[in-house]
Symmetry: C2
Subunit: 558 residues, 2 copies
């Protein structure tokens, strides 16, 4: 039995003109700003015009802890969207944009897989509609304006040792992590040590994805802290007068992008913040717009449910006033086996015991999600190598947890493979049984918010943080930032901070290494372990083999 690759399937897609996709959502062609024939941005005027409409149902797709075996979260998001459309519902999916830089290191990713993909795949892995380039420009304009302010007399009395605002590129470039700038003499400014992050790690990215509109965007950009004075008082982006120009640079990037699935159903692909130092969800404006034009909106969040779903609920939903009507928790037999201790090389053999072992990870996520008051359905993303006994083991386990699991075959069959899941999810969403509430109130002290997540979600015994970190949190509370949610940055591979501790560990501690204030995005980043904000390229980067072949097709990107 031989299968087509994702890129082969994507290239065979019978795409419809993007105007036809917009028409399915009642978006006229005047309100679609086309980028080529198969991508468009939705006009601000249209978005403004639908604000008074009722919202559709919101469905979150999340997953167990990821393993190298893959769990297929995006694939399931796309498959469920197509499944809902196939059973006659008006549904749209919302996912994140891909970062350009990493595609030249490891191979680029499809948006979905098999017969559950979003197209055009190549453009989504390259410049797409230019959103990330706009974010890079806006971020670096602010950087230039800060150094320029210091150069021309430093009226604001910025302490150049305490400029926290770095620069960004959408590129994997380890040489830029740690740099000295402004060398070369008087005309080039005051030398100082700084560096570059990858664009998706920019606070501007997080802000773009959390803003309700352009006015909100500009306010948040102005609120960003970029430096401190010698007396430790903060300098805001507003103080160097960068917020207006940054907003102008971002005005098109704020408009959600519309593309389509292989089955010609609408897909919003917009924004892509890091899922560790930021919240890892597609943009609020895409999700809220989709909710105005579709009856069901299927979206996803980065990494496993301990990070992605937690942040989706505690950060994105809290800030945007959203409430999920149902949650789909994706698991694969292969990932369960790896959580159960099987090495990647041994995944081919049936191993019901390992599946049973790995179910502990699944079970904890189910329990965690229920704490948010949301109904949970497990989607088993079927691989052709899965045996019936393995699948049955998961079914039985989930039933034992008082929940339900549904086998999905969208990778192989498209919407045909998710009709059962779609039917059940639509029933649950329509029933209005969700009683969503975030895990903690705004008023809870910052350190207690961290503890709440660590004990309730990670099931750790304690949070370890030295006095300096606790004092820093207190200082922010005194400065009026105590109501912010916390944004946890830890490994995605484990409930703990040790990536090798799979399954459902207990008895562990969560050490906080550093805390950072993202005053514009509106959260406190809590760093537990090593977090890399500028990746490097591997020994043999994918870029070495990327080229346009004789048929004019891009080779090596996938």
């Amino acid at each position: 039995m031989s299968f087509k690759t994702d890129i082969q399937i994507a290239r065979e897609a019978k795409k419809q003109p993007i105007q036809d996709i917009g028409a399915k959502l009642g978006i006229g062609s005047d309100d679609l700003l086309p980028y080529g024939h198969d991508k468009a941005k939705i006009s601000q005027e249209f978005i403004n015009s639908v604000q008074d409409r009722e919202n559709g149902k919101l469905i979150l797709v999340t997953a167990i802890n990821p393993t190298p075996a893959g769990e297929g979260k995006t694939t399931t998001t796309v498959g469920l969207g197509d499944g809902l459309n196939a059973i006659g519902k008006k549904a749209a999916v919302c996912i994140r944009e891909a970062s350009l830089g990493p595609n030249f290191g490891m191979k680029g990713g499809a948006a979905g897989g098999g017969y559950a993909q979003i197209v055009p795949m190549e453009e989504m892995n390259l410049h797409f509609t230019g959103d990330f380039h706009a974010i890079t420009s806006a971020h670096n304009l602010l950087s230039a304006m800060i150094d320029n302010h210091i150069y021309w007399g430093n009226e604001l009395e910025i302490d150049e040792r305490r400029v926290t605002w770095r620069r960004v590129l959408d590129m994997n470039d380890r040489a830029l992590r740690d740099t000295v700038t402004s060398l070369g003499g008087v005309a080039n400014g005051f030398p100082r040590q700084t560096g570059f992050d990858i664009t998706v790690a920019s606070e501007v990215m997080a802000i773009l994805c959390l803003s309700n509109n352009l006015a909100d965007l500009q306010k948040r950009l102005g609120d960003m802290i970029v430096a401190y004075r010698r007396d430790r008082s903060p300098i805001y982006a507003r103080d160097v007068k960068a917020d207006g120009a940054m907003t102008v640079l971002l005005k098109d990037a704020m408009q959600p992008n519309l593309v389509q699935t292989l089955e010609n159903n609408p897909a919003f692909v917009h924004g892509g913040p890091f899922a560790n130092i930021a919240h890892g969800c597609n943009s609020v404006i895409a999700t809220t717009t989709a909710l105005k034009v579709a009856d069901y909106v299927v979206t996803e969040a980065g990494f496993g449910a301990d990070l992605g779903a937690e942040k989706f609920m505690n950060i994105k939903c809290r800030k945007a006033g959203l409430a999920p009507d149902a949650v789909v928790l994706v698991a694969t037999i292969r990932a369960m086996k790896m959580n159960g201790g099987v090495a990647k090389a041994d995944l081919g053999a049936e191993n019901v015991d390992a599946v049973n072992e790995g179910c502990a990870n699944l079970g904890r996520h189910i329990g965690n999600l229920k704490q948010f008051g949301v109904p949970v359905v497990v989607a088993i993303n079927h691989f052709v190598t899965d045996t019936d006994a393995e699948v049955q083991a998961v079914m039985d386990y989930v039933e034992g947890q008082g929940s339900e699991a549904i086998l999905c075959q969208h990778w192989e069959k498209g919407s045909e493979g998710t009709k059962e899941l779609a039917t059940r999810i639509a029933e649950i969403a329509d029933a209005g049984v969700s009683q969503f509430a975030p895990l903690y109130k705004d008023e809870l002290p910052l350190f207690e918010k961290i503890e709440r997540i660590a004990t309730s979600i990670y099931r750790a015994d304690e949070v370890l943080a030295d006095k300096k970190i606790r004092d820093q949190l207190k200082t922010w509370e005194d400065a009026g930032y105590g109501h912010l949610p916390v944004c946890m940055a830890k490994t995605q591979y484990s409930f703990s901070t040790d990536p090798n501790l799979r399954g459902a560990p207990t008895g562990h501690s969560v050490p906080v290494r550093e805390v950072r204030l993202s005053a514009g995005a509106g959260f406190i980043v809590v760093i537990c372990g090593e977090i890399m904000t500028m990746p490097g390229l591997p020994r043999h980067p994918a870029a070495e083999n990327i080229r346009i072949n004789d048929e004019g097709l891009v080779e090596g990107l996938f």
Copy 2:
């Protein structure tokens, strides 16, 4: 009498859908990749399909040496294009794209002015169709791959002290001119001193603008020299295997952009290399495509005729096999007065003597252009403050030079103001009287090429270059680069290398400070004087006042 500003006029434009503009050139909507409703890229398939057609007539618009008074070269390019269409000819204009970075320093520029403009003006001053972002990405991917190669063992034995390839941003940021990268320890690579240029100064930009197609682009990218070994042997971009991936990043950017004039005539706006260290012309692919679909193509080149027209003829036309059928030399009464010694503050008063004095600059440009065998018409770009006596003085002078001058009022009247010029230019172009030849043969030794330009165009007595520079040129000749044209980088304000020496100086010397090999673009850069490749922001950057106003319009960018 009160006049509307350029931006007011541009915002009142009655734009036609870009498909209608394409239709005027016989480009179907399937062959236009729209970016919004008023911009499009022309498909590679279409470009391929018209290669066997006859070329239209090529008209170059150039100017006297620029002064702070402005000479209106782009305005005249647009006005002439509209004029040709108004007299029933099928004409298109070709100009360069604007760089994003500088717009946040000084105010952004209109594309043209008054009633001779190209729209949409805002987009052209912001991200436009993303071409410059693609160039930034491609350039910096190569940078990352070089450092990555050194990091993973340096099989090519790159001398990290001799990495000549820097990084780029489309931003005015003096802090990045001179940097140290790869600090922070083993994981970040080998520290070395390097820096950033502005994107328009990238050799990738020059290459994009000189390439005939994607295969040519990839070959030239591969030919770029990025570093040297300890034995001084060169490392090419091809050696680090970056050329294929860079081509993939640039494949959309290679497609020319189509927009329109205020009078709804087609305008190609594509590419924008620096006019000092590069050749300062819009892309070859835009010009050659325009020549296949229009009967008359009006294009321009950067700075005055001593730099822009010289490079257009000796670099762009030589490499692309183009030959101009006529040249329009733009002059304004105000710029003539400044070349005649009048200060900017005193330009308001009639001063026929100063005009006569300044005519020396005009006269020398006329003579220079005739050396290329092309017919020249002087266009006097009329300002409402010009007096009849001043205009007559120029008319008389030009007649005395055996040439002709025509008064143009396109700024005030659009195509109505250029019908006379258009009629005459069409006559000349149709007559086929041009006997174009570049100023020197490929075979001339490199230093003699420099001397030929310095003595024939700048009318200098001599070229000064120390032994090190002459030896370097010899080395390149021995390495097979002797056939390349030279790309002069000197001040645009004077025929000499002293920006204050206006008019038509003689008896001066041209000191060569440095020479650089752009092996991919295919020219030797000859640097005479200080050339800045990364601008800084002024004390009060325009960015401080750029914002979106309550009506949703961009303020402060113009």
